[in-house]
C-alpha cells in the first residue's frame, strides 16, 4: 500500500500546474478579465460537449456550458480563466492576480424563483429546460382515499475522497491525457468534440481512480482547458481539483422535488398515481437534467401494480452548477416519492405499511403505464419481509422500504481479451474506481476458458488499447461489462476451435489471440431490493441509526466480499443522504457548505453495524448477474425516513432530515 498511481502521483518533466479562476457571483455580467498569461473565454471559445454518463449534446446548443465564461457568469464557481505556473502554490498566487470585473445581477438560485423569474439565458423564453408528460391520460378515479403531498431530495455532492484531476501532455502531434475517471472513452469523446480534434490524435489513459460515485463519468470544463493549454504551451499541464472546487463546481446530484397524488380504495388497492417531478438542472443543458426528470417518472411506481399513472416531468434551469449523477442518479428519488406516499397512505388507512405494499403487488410480471417492466414482485417481497425480520423489528418502530433497481444495461459494453506469451490481458469499456472489476473478470475468464486467475490482468482504461467503450456507472459493470467479457471469451474459444478443433486451455495459452467485442444490450434488466432500519432520536433531535439491514436480489454474486463491501458503503451513503448531506446555497447563490464535513460526508462513529443479505435469482444474462451498485442508496433512505417518522411522530417529506425539525 502507498504504491498506487493516482493522477496527482504522476509527474511529467517540465510540467505546468493549472489554477482556475472562478466566478464569485451566481449571476453577473462579465465585463473584463485581465491577468498576465491567463487563458479566458475570449481566447478559448469552446463548449462543454457533454455532461456525464454518456449524455449527448443539449437539445439546444445555445444552452451548453461554455468551457470558460464569456459575457455572463451563471453560477458561483464557474470557470472564468485559467492560469499556469511552475508549482501548485504559485498557481494559487496567480489565481489571486487575475482581475475580474463583474456587474452582479439578481440570481435565480432556487427552482421556484427560476420558474417565476426571467429567463437566465438571454434569448430563451423560460427557464424550463425540458417538460414532458409520462404515462397515460385519465380522469381522476372515484377513490375512497386520496393522499397528496410534496417531497424533496436536496442536492448533495458525490465527494469521492480523491477529487477530480487530469494531466494533459502534447508531443506536437498527439495529445495524451492521464485522468481519474469512470470512462476514458467518455472523456475522449468529450475532449475531441469540445476542441474539434481528430480522435486519432487523442489518447486517454486512466490513472488509479479514487472513487467517483457518478462525478467522474463525463467531461468537465477544466479537462478541456488543460488539453488546450498543453497544446498551446507545448508542455504537460496538471490540474488537481481542491475539495472546495469540488463542492463549488462539480456536478451535484439529486436536487429533485415531487408533487404526488395517490388514489386508493378503502381496502388499500391503488387506483391511480398522478404527479409532477421537477429537477433542478443547474445553469446549462446537455447534462443528466435533460433526461433525469422523465427517467425518474418512468420508475416511480416501483414494485406496485398501478394501472393508471401520469407524471409531468420537468427540468428547470437555475444559477447553480449543472446537475449530474450521484450514486443512484434518479433511482433513489423515484423510490423516495413512491415509498413516502405508500407510508402516508398506510397511515391514512390505518393499515400496516408492509401489508399495504404486498397487497398492491402482483405475482406476475407487470409493465407500468409509465414504462417500468418488473418481474413478479410479490414472491420476492414476501420473502424479504421474513429475511428482514420485520415481525420482530416492527415492535421497535422499524421503517421498511421496497424498490426496483433499474440498471443502465443498454447500450451494452465492450471488452478485449488478448493472449500473448502465456499471459492474458483484458480491457473493459467501463473503468473501475474502487469496485474491483478484476475479480469478476478473472473469474469469468476462468469459467469460460479454464485459464488460471493469476494469469489474467485487467488493465486500466486506455483508449489506444480498446477502440471504444461506454463506462462504469448505473449499476452496469458486472452486468454489461461481465456479459462483454463472457462474449469476448466465447468468441476467442470459437476462433480456437475453428482453427484447431477440440478446445484446450494449454494450447490456447501457447498461442496468440486477440478478441474484441461490443456486446450490445437492449431492454430492461430490473431487480428488486428491500431495506429495513430502526432509529432512536434524542431530545436534541439527533438521530442514531440502530439497525440497518439490506435484502437484495443480485442474480449471481461474482465477488461476494466486494458485493458486501459495496452494499455497506452504499448504505452509509444512504444514511448520509437521509441525515447529514446537503449542498446549501444562500439566497444569492453562495455555497455555505464549503468543506467536505459541512457537506455532510458520514463519519465512522455515526454508522451502525450493517447487515447484508442477498438472494441469487439468476438473470437472463449468460453469467446470471444483476445490477448492484446503486441499490443501497435507493433503499436506505426509504427505510430510515420511515423509522424516523415512527419514532418522532413527525411527517418526513425531505432529505436530509434536519435536526432542528426533529428537536422539540
Amino acid at each position: 500500500m502507498g504504491k498506487g498511481q493516482y493522477v496527482d502521483d504522476i509527474t511529467l518533466p517540465n510540467m505546468l500546474y493549472m489554477g482556475v479562476v472562478r466566478s464569485t457571483y451566481a449571476r453577473a455580467k462579465l465585463i473584463k478579465v485581465s491577468g498576465e498569461g491567463a487563458i479566458d473565454g475570449n481566447e478559448l471559445r469552446a463548449l462543454r460537449a457533454s455532461v456525464g454518463e454518456g449524455a449527448a449534446a443539449a437539445s439546444n446548443l445555445d444552452l451548453m456550458e461554455p468551457i470558460l465564461a464569456r459575457d455572463m457568469v451563471y453560477y458561483v464557481g464557474q470557470p472564468v480563466a485559467a492560469v499556469f505556473s511552475e508549482d501548485r502554490y504559485s498557481a494559487e498566487d496567480k489565481i489571486s492576480g487575475v482581475e475580474v470585473e463583474y456587474e452582479p445581477l439578481k440570481a435565480f438560485n432556487a427552482v421556484k424563483a427560476a420558474l417565476e423569474g426571467e429567463p437566465i439565458h438571454p434569448g430563451t423564453d423560460s427557464n424550463i429546460l425540458r417538460e414532458t408528460v409520462v404515462g397515460n391520460a385519465f380522469d381522476d378515479p372515484k377513490a375512497d382515499v386520496v393522499v397528496e403531498d410534496e417531497l424533496t431530495n436536496e442536492r448533495i455532492m458525490p465527494n469521492p475522497i480523491e477529487t477530480r484531476g487530469i494531466i494533459a501532455d502534447y508531443d506536437g502531434k498527439r495529445l495524451t491525457i492521464y485522468i481519474s475517471t469512470q470512462s476514458v472513452h467518455s472523456i475522449k469523446r468529450g475532449i475531441c468534440s469540445s476542441l474539434k480534434l481528430n480522435p486519432d490524435d487523442v489518447r486517454v489513459i486512466q490513472a488509479d481512480t479514487g472513487g467517483g460515485f457518478g462525478s467522474k463519468g463525463g467531461l468537465y470544463p477544466e479537462y478541456v482547458i488543460a488539453a488546450y493549454a498543453a497544446m498551446k504551451f507545448k508542455r504537460p499541464v496538471k490540474w488537481i481539483e481542491t475539495r472546495r472546487e469540488h463542492l463549488l463546481a462539480t456536478n451535484a446530484g439529486r436536487g429533485v422535488h415531487g408533487k404526488m397524488k395517490l388514489f386508493a380504495d378503502k381496502s388499500g388497492k391503488l387506483l391511480a398515481l398522478r404527479g409532477e417531478i421537477t429537477v433542478d438542472s443547474g445553469a446549462f443543458g446537455g447534462g443528466m437534467a435533460e433526461f433525469t426528470a422523465p427517467y425518474i417518472a418512468m420508475q416511480v411506481t416501483g414494485p406496485y401494480k398501478i394501472e393508471k399513472a401520469s407524471i409531468t416531468a420537468r427540468s428547470v434551469m437555475t444559477d447553480k452548477p449543472v446537475q449530474g449523477p450521484y450514486r443512484g442518479a434518479g433511482r433513489p428519488e423515484a423510490a423516495f416519492m413512491m415509498e413516502r406516499m405508500m407510508d402516508m397512505l398506510a397511515d391514512k388507512l390505518n393499515m400496516d405499511p408492509v401489508k399495504l405494499r404486498l397487497f398492491n403487488m402482483s405475482d406476475k410480471p407487470f409493465k407500468s403505464p409509465l414504462g417500468l417492466e418488473i418481474d413478479a414482485a410479490k414472491p420476492f417481497f414476501e420473502k424479504a419481509v421474513q429475511e428482514l425480520d420485520y415481525e420482530r423489528l416492527r415492535n421497535d418502530k422499524a421503517g421498511i422500504g421496497f424498490f426496483v433497481l433499474v440498471p443502465a444495461l443498454a447500450p451494452g459494453e465492450t471488452a478485449r481479451i488478448r493472449i500473448n506469451s502465456g499471459k492474458v490481458d483484458v480491457w473493459l469499456g467501463g473503468n473501475a474506481h474502487g469496485q474491483g472489476h478484476e475479480v469478476f473478470v478473472r473469474k469469468l475468464i476462468r469459467e469460460e476458458l479454464g485459464i488460471p486467475e493469476e494469469l489474467v490482468t485487467l488493465n486500466k482504461g486506455d483508449t489506444d488499447m480498446l477502440q471504444s467503450g461506454i463506462g462504469s456507472w448505473g449499476s452496469r459493470s458486472a452486468i454489461a461489462g461481465g456479459a462483454a467479457v463472457v462474449s469476448a471469451a466465447r468468441k476467442m474459444k470459437k476462433e480456437f476451435e475453428e482453427k484447431h478443433g477440440k478446445f484446450s486451455t494449454t494450447e490456447l495459452l501457447n498461442g496468440t489471440y486477440d478478441s474484441f467485442v461490443f456486446e450490445k444490450q437492449e431492454g430492461q434488466l430490473n431487480s428488486f431490493g428491500a431495506n429495513i432500519a430502526t432509529a432512536s432520536i434524542d431530545k436534541y433531535g439527533v438521530v442514531k441509526v440502530k439497525e440497518c439491514i439490506a435484502y437484495y436480489d443480485l442474480g449471481r454474486m461474482l465477488n461476494p466480499p466486494m458485493v458486501r463491501g459495496q452494499i455497506m458503503g452504499g448504505m452509509a451513503q444512504g444514511i448520509g443522504q437521509t441525515l447529514y448531506e446537503e449542498l446549501v446555497h444562500s439566497d444569492d447563490g453562495q455555497l455555505l457548505t464549503a468543506s467536505i464535513s459541512d457537506a455532510g460526508v458520514p463519519i465512522a462513529e455515526n454508522m451502525p453495524e450493517f447487515v447484508v443479505k442477498v438472494v441469487e435469482n439468476g438473470s437472463r444474462l449468460p453469467h446470471g448477474a444483476k445490477g448492484l451498485g446503486e441499490a443501497p442508496t435507493i433503499g436506505v433512505p426509504l427505510a430510515l425516513c420511515r423509522a424516523i417518522e415512527l419514532v418522532s411522530g413527525k411527517r418526513i417529506r425531505s432529505t436530509p432530515v434536519k435536526q432542528e425539525y426533529l428537536s422539540d
Binding site: G211, R244, M568
Partner: protein, 167 residues
Amino acid sequence: MKKITVKMEVNGKDVEREIDPRMLLATFVRDELRLTGTHIGCDTTNCGACTLLLDGKAVKSCTVLAASASGKKVLTIEGISKDGTMHPVQKAFIEKHGLQCGFCTPGMIMTSYWLLGKGKKLSREEIRKYLSGNLCRCTGYQGIVDSVEYAAELMESEKAKEKARNR
C-alpha cells in the same frame, strides 16, 4: 519568496531540502520527497487522507507547515513495512476488505497504526470513535473496523511469537 532549509528524519532517513516557507508537510513529502502514498483529499483537515506520524503522533499533514516539522521524525505509509514485508495493519486491511478505491487507505492505516501502537484493547465502538477523523466514501467503515480489530489480533500474536523467540 526566500527559501528556508528544513531537515528532518523521514522513514528513518535524514533529509534536507530548501523550500518555500509556506510549504505544507503533505506537499513536502509528496512533491519534494516523492513519497506519494500520503494523499490530499480536502485541504481543510477534515478527511484525514494525509495522515502521517510526526514524532510518533498521528497528524493531518495538509495543515502542518513543513518548516514546523523540521528537526522532527516523520513516518509515512511507505515507512511502516519492513524489508518488503507488509505491516500487520496493512495485511489486515487487505484480508478484511478495509478498502475499495484505496485513496483514504494510507491515512486510515496511519491512524490505525498509531492507535494500535498504544497497545490498548479497543472495542468496535472505540475504533469507530478514533477513526472518525478519517473519511472513507466507499466502505461504510465496517470493513475498516473489521480490519483494525484483525490487525490488533495479528500484532498481538506477533508480539507473542517475538516473546517466545526471545525466551
